[in-house]
């Protein structure tokens, strides 16, 4: 099965959070990435 990724959001979308996700969840993810694992390389 071939799944094509949706195009990445344009730069103008930087200020937006995806409406499909709870903003508090995304904030927790940002904290987790910043506080701990962002010291590792991204995928």
């Amino acid at each position: 099965m071939i799944v094509h990724a949706p195009p990445a959001a344009p730069r103008s979308g930087f200020a937006a959070l995806a409406p499909d996700f709870d903003a508090r969840l995304l904030s927790r993810i940002e904290d987790a990435g910043l506080n701990t694992a962002s010291r590792w390389t991204s995928c």
């Binding site: 099965m1 071939i2 799944v3 094509h4 990724a5 949706p6 990445a8 959001a9 730069r11 979308g13 930087f14 200020a15 937006a16 959070l17 995806a18 499909d20 996700f21 969840l25 995304l26 904030s27 927790r28 993810i29 940002e30 987790a32 990435g33 910043l34 506080n35 701990t36 694992a37 962002s38 010291r39 590792w40 390389t41 991204s42 995928c43």
Partner: protein
């Protein structure tokens, strides 16, 4: 305030780099930095999968096996796949050794050859995937999918409910893989600095 902060970094001989996310305050900081000549780089997407209950039991591809080495061996294998210099591999091993959160590093091996790698960092019910990499000669054979499913399934067993990862916005191959794994864009971030950091 920005000028004072930059002066502190300059005095310490460190690059002054600002991470811009949707959570950045004040919201106009990105525009302010752009107006001062700071360039944007590392356009990155944070992709999220909210429900890990549907992750199936992964199996290693034919002729391959999963292995969980120690910090040093994992960092060495990741560095070899990425072509990183020795100093970066050693620094990576040290970061893993001192990790404040639980992490699991997995190698996919074919005989003695490392063909793919990946790791997860667990924090409460969140799991982050990092260091997902497949050797160039083995790409498009489902190895990245296998190693991600292996990590996600193990994370779910350990109590993770939500998974996230960070990927370059223009890495279409990786984004396709993560879309196949039911990840979707959550938000974006980038950095601003006087100049992008040197690669390598």
């Amino acid at each position: 305030m920005l000028s004072r902060a930059e002066a502190v970094f300059t005095h310490a001989r460190l690059p002054f780099i600002v991470r811009i996310t949707p959570f950045t305050q004040p919201p106009m900081l990105d525009a302010v930095l752009a107006a001062r000549g700071f360039v944007a780089f590392d356009d990155t997407r944070v992709m999220v999968r909210e429900d890990l209950s549907g992750v199936g039991e992964p199996s290693a591809p034919n002729g391959c096996s999963f292995q969980m080495p120690g910090h040093g061996a994992f960092a060495e294998a990741v560095g070899a796949l990425r072509g990183s210099p020795l100093a970066q591999r050693q620094a990576h091993a040290e970061r893993l050794r001192a990790s404040p959160v639980r992490y699991v590093g997995v190698l996919l091996k074919r005989g003695n050859e490392v063909v793919a790698c990946g790791q997860m960092a667990l924090e409460d019910d969140l799991v982050g995937l990092y260091d997902i990499h497949t050797a160039p000669a083995y790409r498009r054979h489902g190895l990245g999918l296998a190693i991600c499913e292996h990590l996600l399934q193990r994370a779910h067993q350990l109590g993770a409910r939500v998974a996230y990862l960070q990927v370059d916005a223009d890495n279409e191959a990786a984004r396709s893989l993560y879309a196949q794994l039911e990840f979707a864009d959550g938000y974006a971030y980038h950095y601003r600095g006087r100049q992008p950091p040197a690669v390598g």
